[in-house]
């Protein structure tokens, strides 16, 4: 993909990010931080690509380390967010 298209997408994503997040209530700021945290774990996709193209054992080792770290970010982030949000769920919520 050419540079201008990527730049366009980046700029649009900035606006979507600002729009979406400015609607989040302060009650949910902690899950928001944690949820956004989980999303950047998607660097896993990049780590997998690099590991998949590695031929040198050292490169492979570093790439696999990146895969482990990114997976921890991604999986841990979503699990923690889910646990927090579970508590905001419906059980016994009436006064």
């Amino acid at each position: 993909m050419d540079g201008i298209s990527l730049l366009t997408i980046t700029v649009l994503a900035v606006f979507v990010g600002f729009e979406v997040v400015s609607k989040v209530s302060s009650t949910l700021h902690t899950p928001l931080m944690s949820g956004a945290n989980a999303i950047h774990g998607i660097i896993l996709v990049g780590a997998i690509i690099v590991a998949g193209q590695a031929s040198d054992p050292w490169v492979l080792a570093v790439a696999l380390l990146a895969v482990v770290l990114a997976t921890a970010n991604l999986v841990g982030g979503f699990v923690v967010t889910d646990r927090m949000l579970e508590m905001f769920g419906g059980k016994g919520r009436t006064k």
């Binding site: 606006f15 979507v16 979406v20 009650t27 997998i48 482990v68 646990r83 927090m84």
Partner: protein, 457 residues
């Protein structure tokens, strides 16, 4: 095995990006939040599955093994962590994400001859390393593995300046030469910069820095998306970068701080006022029975929960106490400071865990005018967020932070472990006021005693 056509790959990545946007959007209401988060996780799964069928890859068993290891380490930790330790876990996960981005950028350096791609590479390398090392220090501070007070030493600003200057020099050289040894140097400089950036930040400001580093990791991921020509990484990273920026500003505003002041205030030596030692002025302390009488014959009670409640796991007992008081016809509310606990909204998470109904949770702007009508303000393990020094003492590190105005209540009861100052390391004048009573002890034990005494009234 035939690979997926690029157009299908692009569409699947697009679907994953939409899942991420919907995940953040879901957080606009507690009702849709959990579904949104699960959709986000589904998007991530979709993206990972897509990469395996769209790029020709070797080492697949190794990669699957690494994913298994990462999941096996993170999932149990995430499942078992106590809600009070949430902020440091978020910092930790953020740090490893930043580290992964830096490593990916390092390895991509050998694959490109394009100077613009190298610009994105040096950016990812530096920002990812800062995020990794900075998050490690925030983790250590929150876990109290090290002091929560600002760590300063002479020459810190000079050292930081030198590190950044050399880093910029190395970055420029890498863009022109693609030198791998210089990239390793840049990585090391980034790690140093991350440590130096967070060391001078005081305990109370650490959560804001976590949010900022979260945004940094997002930007590093977006830049690595540019390196790999992967639109999903660009979109996801940018989303996180933008949301992290907003959140950081909202948090800083809630504490009456400027982000630049938090990061660089300590360099100017302005935010180190205050003491860690308690003075020996007299205070009025009391027994659980007396506190119960005070509460039991009030008409209106406002409970102000803080971090002390959280560490003692006292949220369930506090909820029970509120129910017991309501059973006596007393009007009870919880006053939630935006940064009660250790992150914005953290206290809401904890009280939600204890099934305290939403209607009882009042935010600062709403409740502050109501303290005047309250007979008792019961402060459980909070200190900094009710400290009038934020309004009156210009030299104080928390000066300017909006506070809960418990001083307006007719009586103020503090449940405190000791006279030790709070997270910000400053004394609370309110403790010495005539309308203030203290009940010393662990928040949960004290609450249990008070609850028992209220039931016996």
């Amino acid at each position: 095995m035939t690979l997926l056509a690029p157009v299908w790959t692009a569409l699947l990545y697009l679907a994953a990006a939409v899942c991420f946007i919907l995940a953040l959007r879901g957080l606009s209401s507690p009702r849709t939040a959990r579904r949104g988060n699960l959709l986000g996780a589904f998007g991530a799964l979709l993206a990972v599955a897509t990469v395996f069928v769209s790029v020709k890859m070797d080492n697949i068993p190794w990669i699957l093994g690494a994913i298994a290891v990462g999941s096996a380490v993170a999932a149990p930790v995430a499942r078992r962590v106590q809600m009070t330790q949430m902020p440091q876990l978020v910092a930790l996960f953020n740090g490893v994400g930043g580290g992964a981005a830096a490593l990916v950028a390092l390895l991509e350096l050998g694959h490109t001859g394009d100077a613009w791609v190298r610009v994105a590479i040096v950016f990812t390398l530096l920002v990812g390393a800062v995020s990794f090392a900075g998050s490690a220090i925030t983790f250590a501070k929150l876990q109290e593995l090290m002091t929560t007070r600002p760590v300063l030493f002479p020459g810190l600003p000079v050292l930081m300046g030198a590190v950044l200057l050399v880093a910029v020099g190395a970055a420029v050289a890498i863009v022109f030469s693609g030198s791998f040894p210089l990239a390793l140097l840049l990585l090391a400089l980034g790690l140093m910069a991350g440590v130096l950036l967070v060391l001078p930040v005081g305990g109370a400001d650490v959560p804001i820095v976590i949010s900022l580093l979260n945004a940094f990791t997002g930007l590093a991921v977006a830049a690595s998306g540019l390196v790999l020509g992967n639109v999903l990484l660009v979109v996801a990273g940018t989303l996180v970068g933008a949301s992290g920026t907003i959140l950081t500003r909202a948090m800083a505003a809630a504490m009456g701080r400027k982000v630049t002041g938090i990061l660089f205030g300590a360099f100017r030596g302005g935010s180190t006022a205050g003491s860690t030692t308690a003075s020996d002025r007299p205070v009025r302390s009391s027994s659980a029975e007396d506190v119960a009488v005070l509460l039991g014959y009030a008409q209106r009670v406002i409970i102000v929960p803080g971090y002390g409640l959280a560490v003692a796991q006292g949220q369930h007992t506090a909820a029970e106490l509120a129910l017991a008081l309501e059973a006596r016809g007393i009007d009870v509310d919880f006053a939630i400071h935006p940064v009660a606990g250790r992150m914005p909204g953290h206290m809401n998470v904890l009280l939600a865990e204890a099934n305290v109904p939403y209607e009882s949770l009042k935010e600062m702007g709403e409740i502050n005018s109501e303290f005047r009508t309250a007979d008792v303000a019961l402060v459980v393990g909070a200190n900094d967020v009710v400290n009038p020094a934020a309004k009156t003492s210009a030299g104080s590190p928390i000066y300017g932070m909006p506070i809960l105005e418990v001083a307006d209540a007719r009586q103020v009861v503090f449940l405190k472990r000791s006279m030790r100052p709070g997270f910000a390391g400053i004394e609370n004048e309110l403790l010495y006021e005539p309308q203030t009573t203290l009940l010393f002890g662990d928040a949960k034990e004290s609450l249990t005693k008070v609850l028992g005494a209220v039931k016996a009234l």
